[in-house]
Symmetry: C2
Subunit: 253 residues, 2 copies
């Protein structure tokens, strides 16, 4: 199996190394990841600047390419310019912090897998549900299972990826795996208004995860109850439910 | 009506001015837009840097706030920190260039409207189908009609926005308005591999719009046939069609 790894915490992050180690006996791994942290970049791509690529050797067999771009850039350039063969699967992560609810749209980790899905390659994003003291070992083990399951089921529908979130608790406290929908909201944010040393105002975004309007069966609440969540995400953002109603509206030139 | 305008071409762009002029007699307009062009930023938000806000007066009644961030940042900071009252509608654009197919995921213009939808405000993204010699006049006129239609229908479903694309042809050549789905693909890209003056390699993303796998009824092909396209886009990226099938997969801890 030919595996492409990326992430948004950067090629030197602990999470991508844990992923590398867990997947290494499944086949040939190539790591193409941002040279520095690129969190909350959404599905950004770099159009107005050139990209540079640098070889990185983190010791052991971990060899990869650091790119001066976003996770989506990394997957694009890996497939279009770096790799000789098309990968069989793209795995993005392991992200430090959960990617549930609307965070899915902001997430660089998810966008790495989204780019893979756009290019027609089965793709998985993996995130760990904590921002502090991460232990990636079980998330990496589960990522391996997910890769094998995707391979065993002959891939994923075109344009669809799996968004996996693993609770940050001890292995024996994890209750199971649930296939769930994305929740509608997850973050309540505000801006801190501050003054710099030259007395000019600046704003800093801050926020906290809140509830998700009682969506007990969606990703946020399910992860909170210590289940691994698996959500199929697709690149077609059409609201099909509303599409038919909207056709009744009287749009005129 | 209280209207919030943003875009991704920046507060000094021609497209947002055209939008401002077209909507000005509908109510109170506030412009909060990036201080420079932020194209293809996806749904990025700025977490690791502060945001600064500067008053901008472009002459006439056009007064606004330039933000050192992305379109999503602009909508967030407008609603959370700048505006006294919550807007009734968010309009993002008019973008120089179409936003159809997978471009919807890369688009800063769409992400401005997506952020509005996430915050529970009816939102519209408007793009013009050309990158050269833009004439925004009809797109601006249509944007006004769309705003009135959204207001007349009491808004949009929670988490859903309208993605509007206007063909860049003379008014009399526009054939009508079509409510359509997002197409599955729109761009074929490659990387130019070049050498800088110091003989170091760099890569530059380039590409062209191609077909969309025969999706005649979707946004790309419909816009090409000179119809205005209106696509309802939502923030829930769950692939519901595949969700039920995926529940049959044997995920295990």
């Amino acid at each position: 199996m030919k595996i492409l790894l990326t992430n948004d915490d950067g090629i030197y992050a602990e999470g991508i190394r844990a992923l590398y180690n867990a997947l290494t006996d499944l086949g040939d791994i190539t790591v193409v990841a941002p040279d520095t942290e690129r969190s909350a970049v959404g599905h950004a791509i770099t159009l107005s600047d050139p990209l540079r690529v640098k070889n990185v050797n983190r010791g052991g067999k971990f060899f990869g390419y650091a790119v001066t771009g976003t996770p989506a850039d990394c997957v694009k350039i890996a497939i279009r310019a770096i790799l000789r063969d098309r990968p069989d699967i793209v795995v993005s992560g392991i992200n430090l912090g959960p990617n549930v609810g609307y965070s899915v749209l902001y997430s660089g980790t998810v966008s790495g897998a989204t780019e893979g899905a756009m290019l027609g390659i089965p793709s998985i994003a993996v995130s760990l549900g904590t921002f502090e003291d991460p232990d990636y070992s079980y998330a990496a083990e589960f990522a391996k299972k997910a890769v094998l399951l995707v391979a065993g089921n002959n891939g994923l529908p075109k344009g669809t990826l799996l968004n996996v979130n693993v609770p940050a608790v001890a292995r024996e406290q994890i209750k199971g795996v649930r296939v769930v929908k994305q929740s509608a909201r997850a973050i309540e944010e505000r801006f801190d208004k501050r003054q710099d040393p030259r007395r000019r105002t600046y704003y800093w975004l801050t926020g906290e995860v809140i509830g998700s309007d009682g969506q007990e069966d969606a990703d946020l609440e399910t992860l909170r109850r210590n289940y691994v969540t698996v959500t199929p995400i697709h690149c077609d953002m059409t609201d099909y439910g509303f599409l038919q109603l909207l056709k009744e509206w009287k749009f005129e030139l």
